[in-house]
Amino acid sequence: MDNKHVENLIIDYLDGRLSEFDEKALEKHIDDCLFCQKELEDYKKLFNAFQSEEKAKPSSRVQLNFDKMLEEQTSQKVKIFSINSKKNKKLFYNLTRVAASVILLVGVFYAGRYSKNKTNIEDVVNTSENTIKYEELAITALIENSSASKRIKGLQLFKEYKNPDENVIKAIGDKMLYDDNPNVRLSALEALSQFYSEEHVKSFLLEGLKIEKNPNNQIAIIEILVKVKEERAIEPMKIILANDETETFIKNEIIKLTPNLI
């Protein structure tokens, strides 16, 4: 640890999650390292902002920028954040100087990006549990992480939501369709369970019926569309039945589930 910067461990350190041995080694390193001292100070400011500004609201401009950024991110099939790049750090430092409320918003998002290395984002979510909007932003950051298990974690947290923002639902619909990991796609499908009967979610389901190739996921989509009695699913199902590459059990399930429709 003496010769390497320890910024990846600072959040765990502040949360008291390091072993006694690691904690002492980190403190010893920070005593001698100006860079890590600065990192520690920045994170302390950020954590203080979480605690003191729980009810702060982001400005409409910040929300607008976030929505735009979210749209850009969800249009990409794979999202990889490079948190150590100078560009991102500059962005982080500049934003933290604006105001405590902005620090809060950006901090949650930045922490989400940072979490692909070491951070447990659930702790960040819990820290701002009184502010639903920020939780939503943190969850959105999680589902854009490069780690599949973190994306699934974000989707499982989202499942608890009652009135999420429409943009977040769209981001999750895109995950259901285009994420490169089939487990994440299925988790996104399950995360949308409380909205299956809504028209825009049905559109995602119908598109999924056309493009999904993983058998587990195909069956799940078919069952949901039959359950919500979506008649527009009949034609795509006929195409699946006629496709020689379709697994036999999927054909059998379609016939079993839709005896009167097809």
């Binding site: 298990s149 499982q156 990991n181 299925l186 069956i219 697994e247």
Partner: protein, 228 residues
């Protein structure tokens, strides 16, 4: 005797090649992403580097942003990869390659559309695995509470071994296969739900905690208690 000397030399030369060791630092690397068309064994060591025991011509290393891509060609024997304990890895198995992983505590992602079985032991999770035809066995030495594990197969069997005192939320389901557990509370839940026509259970183990999901279409799912 003389006529055998070239053959003996060739054998010695080949043996030397098979013992070839390559290493590369993992400083700044978040994920090691391996694609393998040959059987592969991944273990841990105490250095912050990847160490590969295989002939140099049989694999390719590429740095891509904060990822290290490793690609092994087909039909190689005895590939051994060593990584630091907390390294995140993503493995894609092709051509029925068998995958063995031992001791990693970082995140593990596995995708396979082949028949190559996967065996993972001495891990803490999280694991995200999706297999088409292959079986998968996972032995948790303890269960990390940070992130969920999800293991899905289409035709393959799933066997998960974990300490009986683990705090987890379990969701196990198989469409045409069977559920089995030697953990009393889970086996009772399986028996109870089966009488109601369900081949799926959701249950908490002890106080509940991190989510572990196992789903299969046609494979059996076993939940076994860990005994050291």
């Amino acid at each position: 005797m003389k006529k055998y000397i070239p053959v003996i030399c060739l054998l010695i030369f080949n043996y030397g090649l098979s013992q070839e060791v390559s290493n590369q630092s993992l400083a700044g690397i978040d994920w090691v992403k391996i694609t393998s068309a040959s059987d592969l064994s991944v273990s841990i060591h105490d250095k912050n580097e990847i160490l590969i025991k295989a002939n140099n011509k049989d694999f390719k290393l590429t740095n891509q942003n904060k990822d290290l891509l490793v690609s092994f060609v087909a039909d190689i024997e005895n590939i051994e990869v060593y990584l630091p304990k907390n390294q995140n890895i993503k493995i894609e198995s092709t051509k029925d390659a068998l995958i063995y992983i031992d001791g990693l505590c970082g995140e593990i992602e596995i995708n396979s559309e082949t028949y190559g079985d996967v065996s993972i032991k001495n891990v803490t999770g999280p694991i995200t695995a999706n297999l088409l035809n292959a079986n998968i066995k996972v032995v948790f030495s303890s269960v990390s509470q940070n992130l969920p594990t999800s293991i899905f197969t289409t035709y393959g069997e799933i066997e998960i071994t974990l300490p009986e005192n683990s705090n987890t939320n379990l969701a196990l389901s198989t469409r045409y296969g069977e559920l089995y557990s030697d953990i009393k509370s889970i086996s009772e839940k399986i028996a109870n739900d089966k009488t109601n026509g369900n081949n799926s259970i959701t249950s908490t183990l002890n106080k509940g905690g991190v989510n572990i999901t196992a789903k299969s279409i046609d494979g059996n799912i076993k939940l076994i208690k860990f005994s050291s």
